[in-house]
Symmetry: C2
Subunit: 226 residues, 2 copies
């Protein structure tokens, strides 16, 4: 059912750098909306986000544009519109694999529902972790994952495992119909499943970038993200 | 002492998008080196990384270039050179704040030393967490953080806290000489301390990007990272 929905969606081609900025827009607009700001000019939004207002107009024009001359943006409307573009109303059925510290941090801290996902299962291979509670779920034995996929049809998996373990589990998941991966392991999922949707989180890359900033204190012209 | 070292470093200005790619080069070269590959052409490296070989040459030329016509790159030399550019030999003294699931995942899983940092203290405010062991360190009471900074001079802090708690702790850290932050909270550190080096990790942004990929399966032209 979730897959039918995917196929039915409109599919514009938008450059990836624009897509990468959408979550930032959404995040800043969430904060503005929570602070009961009702409208904002592209200049004000640009200042807040540390980018140019022409960048904002250009980005949003990819999706038809939302501002009104002399008024700016309606915060609530723009927030909802970007949420719909991102597909955050999707609630894609999701499993979490690996219930160690990282898996537990991800599983308990993230607001999945607000970000388009619904966690329907958590798995680990360690006897000490199987049977423990996590976010209204009981951690299950990863040996039962194939059967779970056949019955519950998860579409997304969050991989909180070392690379070696990740490869074997991803094979089971893909075979079971999972087509999207939030990957914290260093296993290169796309190399084996080029049609999957993959977001890799390489925490080391961020750490090394911080190291560069420290080592070259005047050598980084801009901070591109906040 | 670490701060003297900072001032003494060469400070080229290199575009931020190039800097962002350096950790990826380093990561791929680490894997090649571990697999005992001694040399690689820019074409082969490009294919492996999913970018163009002219991009690679252009990026590396920012730092003087490393390849030899007809030979390609010496893997070990390029790996070391990029490590030096990133400053990974720095071993900057670092504290970790927040010993919940996320802090514990970060504190126990990451190879800090390989990425330029040396963890010298871990702190939390919760009585259940204070006194627990983490990576050869004992979690200390965050109330003692100011005194710790005066004595041990950490230069970097990893913030694994909710935004409200993060603001107060960052004030103590900045006052205590910390000038670089690896920030997992949503607190906007740069807004209050514009001269700090900050790397924000917004896991939600990555999750929302995955949601976009799922919702627009043919709408994302390229996967820019592996």
């Amino acid at each position: 059912m979730a897959q039918e929905r995917l196929v039915a969606m409109k599919t514009e081609t938008v450059s990836f750098s624009v897509v990468r900025r959408l979550p930032r827009y959404y995040r800043f607009l969430s904060d503005l909306h929570a602070a009961e700001v009702t409208r904002i000019s592209s200049r004000q939004l640009a200042e807040l986000m540390g980018i140019t207002s022409s960048q904002i107009r250009q980005d949003l024009n990819c999706f038809g544009g939302f501002g009104q001359q002399g008024y700016g943006y309606n915060v609530e409307q723009l927030h909802s519109a970007i949420g719909r573009i991102l597909g955050l109303d999707g609630l894609y059925p999701t499993v979490l694999i690996g219930a160690g510290n990282l898996g537990r941090a991800i599983g308990t801290k993230m607001d999945f529902e607000a970000n388009g996902f619904r966690l329907i299962g958590a798995f680990d291979q360690s006897p000490e972790k199987i049977g423990k509670e996590m976010r209204n779920l009981t951690v299950q034995d990863v040996a039962t994952l194939a059967a779970f996929c056949r019955e519950e049809h998860p579409l997304v998996a969050m991989i909180c495992l070392p690379p070696d373990a990740a490869k074997a589990v991803c094979a089971v998941l893909y075979e079971g119909g999972v087509r999207a991966f939030w990957n914290f392991s260093h296993y290169n999922i796309l190399a084996d499943y080029p049609d999957a949707a993959v977001e890799n989180v390489h925490l080391e890359d961020s750490l090394m970038t911080l190291c560069y900033r420290l080592t070259h204190p005047t050598g980084v012209p801009e901070q591109d993200e906040t």
